[in-house]
Homo-oligomer: 209 residues x 2
């Protein structure tokens, strides 16, 4: 039995949606990041990095969204959440997902968790000022990827890259770092993903609207 | 024919080593980051993000070290550079690689490229001061992973996680952000990896020692 560790409002929503899309049977454990659950010994035994998401499987724990997303796609092949049998196509999807993890999420974190990157209010202010500038670059690149009229990140078919992008499409406005309406194709993607039953189910399970 | 885009001294060394380990036939194109090659139109057509590494395949371009490393392992199975037939084991290796990409590399970048995260000399100074603190945490976690006496990141067998960690083992001292000798198991891992013919070949090809 899979066990999924997440926090409301965190990037773990992407993997939560993927589990719902896959029709997986899984338990959940919700962490309260403000209460510091991620730093308590019980969770550090699951993920010594003290971060969500984490997915406990029969063989051990997987961490990092791109990895959990890829694993769910591969182990629930009937859900067709990735091009599992094409190393290049799977890799291209993961190139996008790792870009979200290393660049887009990191830019958001400079606004929401500046203490991770530097101490002091002056530095925090400077990092918060830069976050929307970096995100404008990144969302511009993503908007370009939709220039050919594709509805989903990788083309005509929904993959696990879509719920991961969806998280940051939400954060852009939630964190006041940009407007989806500045990126019409991204805005349309957000609405398309938001309408999916699995997305609504994951959000409802997290008590997030 | 594969074509590999790299820069001397960049994290692309990890993927370069993997290509050598795989015995792949590939062309290389070396970018001069100080001259801004990564921002020139010719390269932005390959990778609009303007970053190395990038791997041009017959089907298109892959980017991000964890992705290229995984792709090389999967498409050169005889080289046994990953547990390609075990979704969990492959995912566990990628959890490590994505952690290097999202956390370890990002901490180094706050020292070497602070302008990516905030403007101004004060902020740069604060970020440079935090980088070794964050890296001490991360290298501590990695040292713990070797506590069971394993020679390689994932256990008894060398995988593509090893050359990727090797890059940051080198950077720790190159960038003056820590001492490998503070982490005896990591120091031993560095020496074990440095002795491999494929590693020497990639370093020689890059003109890096």
């Amino acid at each position: 039995m899979l066990k999924f560790y997440y926090a409301k409002g965190a990037c773990s929503l992407a993997s939560h949606i993927a589990l719902e899309e896959a029709g997986a049977t899984y338990e959940v454990e919700r962490l309260d990041l403000k209460a510091g659950d991620q730093r308590k010994p019980a969770f550090l035994k699951i993920n010594p990095k003290g971060r969500v998401p984490a997915l406990l499987t029969d063989k051990g724990v997987l961490t990092e969204n791109p990895v959990i997303l890829g694993y769910v796609a591969q182990t629930f092949p009937d859900a067709k959440l990735a091009e599992n049998d094409d190393s290049f196509a799977f890799g291209a999807m993961q190139s996008f997902n790792v870009f979200l993890a290393t660049s887009v999420h990191v830019a958001f974190a400079h606004n929401s968790r500046p203490e991770r990157y530097a101490d002091g209010e002056e530095a925090a202010k400077a990092m918060r000022a830069k976050a929307p500038v970096a995100l404008a670059d990144y969302f511009g690149l993503i908007e370009d990827q939709f220039a050919d009229g594709r509805p989903f990140v990788m083309g005509d078919r929904y993959t696990v890259a879509d719920p991961y992008l969806f998280v940051f499409e939400r954060w852009l406005e939630r964190d006041g770092l940009g407007q989806r309406s500045d990126y019409p194709k991204i805005a349309a993607h957000h609405d398309l993903v938001a309408a999916r039953p699995a997305v609504k189910a994951a959000l409802a399970a997290e008590g997030d609207r």
